[in-house]
């Protein structure tokens, strides 16, 4: 016994040093009607046993293409160039489809972004987990069930036997991702690829999953390729970091070194774009004794109105409360941040204030009072503008930018016909877009450009309040940084107040004067941004703050 372990130890040490996953000089193109698009060019990286390589890049950088290439799941129009993909020294490109089938799940595991779509909704979670064990490890169904239970227990699910009998829709996002992770680890593969495994999850759940990943990786000594857009997160969990940009690895090295002393311009820009609470983007706070500009009092929103048929049949629909008795005050010139998990009611507040959902309670704008008896009038709607999360959806695809920006000017009578072109040009310049974009359609713009147009449309009305509902959530981190800077700049120039709703607490701490925390439709905490870590914070606020990853202090600080 002792002799065996004495032999085993050096073998394990040897294994740890040997590269498990090796990509060398790999190139990939996609053939499209518009010509070849390069996805990957000369990519080289290695992951050793027991190590985690974080692959960081923005959308379209080719990071997911690399994952597909390693798993040999390439679309029909993919054209591979030179280069090798090796798993423990074996060439993956030379494998037959049958060999790959036997290899996937057993020797390479995978965990994708959205656990909602990577699980089959018609099969019980247990069946999906045991299938892998029966198929790849030849266990009997009974043994596989026991093993599956043990695996689930290891992922921190409290009652694994019960979880195995549930269907995906009966489990939460975090529980589903735990099942997917348990499945990936089930056959003790040599290598697991994680593609944004926590991006679709709430902050607190995401943190739990990240901790779970770190623990399992430590225990099993698996080689992990961890793909993410989140530099702060990768910095925390990965040993090495590779930064990918337009299909090329621009920088690679130990995580601490890359973050603290990056050599490449692109990496530096990426690090600088990551929201960091320490680097405030706004100066000064509005006078706290100023009269409130916009105030919501006992704001309550219920969703789910009963249909006439339901009422006739006596079926009462379940009423869902989107927001419950929320009191909020926005001072002139203030940026008020609202944070909370999805479903916490933060967007509901914005939609109620924009007059998009009926609400109970009152809303005051300056001296004027609105509520169930007094609906918002045009003056209110002009004064309170909203910018939405998804720039693809918030611009009418059949209208040119010119028409989109002209509409508020015409509607509120802010410009004469003869002045329109000049005003639209000025609006475009105010959001740092060229004047000739006026003739373009939304689909001819990038996501960041579309969001700029949406912001220009909101500011065209010369509003007193701008409601920003997750306006940067669908943008890449470097684009997000630009849009946020623009927004802060416009706010300072026009002096309007901004309600900035986001799930990204770091970002909100960068720009907001005060922060409101929403949970389950209620506003549980409201504090001045400098008091984020003050002792009096609500426990939920503290959990949120603890769950988010921030870049280490040294990273990205402007040099002396």
């Amino acid at each position: 016994m002792t002799a065996r372990s004495a032999v085993a130890a050096p073998v394990a040490a040897l294994q740890a040093a040997r590269p498990v996953l090796e990509v060398s000089n790999y190139s990939l193109h996609y053939a499209t009607p518009a010509g070849d698009v390069t996805a990957l060019e000369g990519v080289s990286l290695t992951v050793a046993g027991g190590r985690t390589l974080g692959l960081v890049g923005e959308s379209g950088s080719g990071k997911t293409s690399l994952a597909w290439a390693i798993l040999r799941y390439l679309p029909a129009n993919a054209r591979e160039g030179a280069g090798r993909l090796l798993l423990s020294g074996e060439d993956l490109r030379a494998k037959s489809p049958g060999e790959l089938l036997a290899l996937r799940g057993r020797r390479i595991g995978m965990v994708f972004q959205d656990p909602g779509t990577s699980l089959n909704p018609t099969l019980m979670l247990g069946d999906q987990l045991t299938e892998v064990l029966v198929r790849h490890r030849g266990l009997t169904l009974k043994d596989a069930r026991e093993k599956g239970e043990a695996l689930l227990a290891r992922t921190g699910i409290s009652r694994p036997a019960e979880m195995l009998r549930r269907y995906p829709h009966e489990a939460s996002g975090g529980e589903k991702q735990r099942v997917v992770i348990a499945t990936a680890f089930a056959c003790e593969p040599e290598c697991i690829i994680f593609d944004e495994p926590t991006t679709a999850l709430d902050v607190i759940t995401a943190r739990q999953i990240q901790d779970l990943f770190a623990r399992l990786q430590e225990e099993t000594r698996v080689a992990a390729l961890y793909i993410s857009h989140d530099l702060a997160l990768v910095a925390r969990i990965a040993h090495e970091v590779a930064v990918i940009h337009r299909g090329r690895i621009v920088e690679q090295g130990p995580a601490a070194r890359v973050l603290a002393a990056s050599r490449e311009e692109y990496t530096k820009r990426l690090i600088a774009a990551v929201p960091q609470p320490r680097r405030r983007l706004v100066r000064g706070a509005p006078a706290p004794e100023a009269l409130p500009l916009l105030a919501a009092e006992r704001l309550t929103v219920c969703y789910g109105e009963s249909g006439i048929l339901d009422r006739l049949l006596g079926r009462a629909r379940q009423q869902v409360t989107g927001a419950h008795d929320v009191d909020l005050v926005l001072r002139p010139g203030e940026i008020l941040g609202i944070v909370g998990e999805s479903g916490s009611g933060k967007s509901t507040i914005a939609r109620a204030l924009a007059g998009l959902v009926p609400f109970e309670g009152t809303v005051r704008l300056a001296e004027r009072c609105f509520g169930s008896g007094a609906p918002f009038d045009r003056a209110y709607r002009r004064a309170v503008q909203i910018v939405f999360q998804n720039p693809d959806g918030s611009l009418n695809p059949r209208q040119r930018v010119r028409d989109i920006l002209a509409r508020p000017l015409i509607l509120y009578g802010l410009a004469r016909r003869s002045e329109l072109d000049a005003r639209i040009g000025a609006l475009l310049e105010s959001v740092l877009l060229p004047r000739d974009f006026a003739g373009r359609y939304p689909h001819q713009l990038s996501g960041g450009e579309k969001q700029r147009v949406a912001i220009a449309r909101a500011f065209a009305a010369q509003p007193r309040v701008v409601l920003c509902d997750e306006v940067t959530s669908s943008l890449d981190v470097s684009v997000q940084a630009q849009v946020v800077r623009l927004l802060v700049d416009l706010q300072a120039r026009t002096g309007c107040a901004v309600l900035f709703i986001s799930h990204d607490i770091n970002l909100v701490r960068q720009i907001a004067h005060r922060i409101a925390v929403m949970q389950g439709g209620e506003c549980v905490d409201l504090f001045d941004v400098v008091e984020a870590h003050a002792p009096g914070r609500h426990p939920y606020t503290r959990r949120l703050l603890d769950a988010v990853t921030t870049l280490p202090a040294a990273a990205g600080e402007p040099g002396p």
Partner: protein, 272 residues
Amino acid sequence: MREVLHHPTGLVGAVLLSVIGLAVVLGPWVAPYDPQMFNSMARLQGPSAAHWLGTDQFGRDILSRLLDGARATILFGLGATLLGVFAGAAIGIVAGVSGRAVDSVIMRVVDGLLAVPDLLFTLLIVTMLGGGLGWAMVAVAVAFTPGMARIARSAVLSVRTREFVQAARARGESFAYVIMREVLPNAIGPLIVEATIRISFAIMLGATLSFLGLGAQPPSTDWGLMIAEARQFMFRNPWMVAAPGVAIALAAMGFNLFGDALRDLFDPRSRR
């Protein structure tokens, strides 16, 4: 339009439709004979150099009658569809934009009407309104209305929740502006596609009504009526049935293929 021509079935559809379009526009002028001219010397003949598609029981030239009848038959299909689309779209849009109560009342009625087969529905209406091409057209339009209403409603519902519509509402735009400028331009695609496919159904329904004696009346050259009249001579001169039959089939196919191509091109999943 160029994309439709690059679509394999779209091209076939477009070619068929342009041939039929030519017949509709030029038919009476290019016809070799007067479509109503009796010729007792040449009755029930097969194809020949003089009569390319043969003659009927009165010696009338079948090709000339087909060319003459194209106008009535195709315009019937277009007219009935257009009426049905407008009526259906109006109802569907109202249902799509009004509240739950109005919507559920309208849609339950629509569901009820959808359960009645088109032909049965059309026959019912024609018997209520009376025969003739005009009423037959109205009947087909009415039969199409519930189906179009359903499609218009779903198109409106999917657009209505998009953020640019929300943005317009938040701006305080009038109801009419939101519908006409924001919702409708983005919901019109599926309607056009459905309408194109329905033209072929309308032509066939019209032909069926004429065949049953409830549509066009003799001596009209409507294709459906031509088949009805030819029935008793089917075995002596099969060309009398085959020629208008094939013409109807080709027209229906043309509209169907063209509509299919349009549907593929409007479907974002098939793009890029």
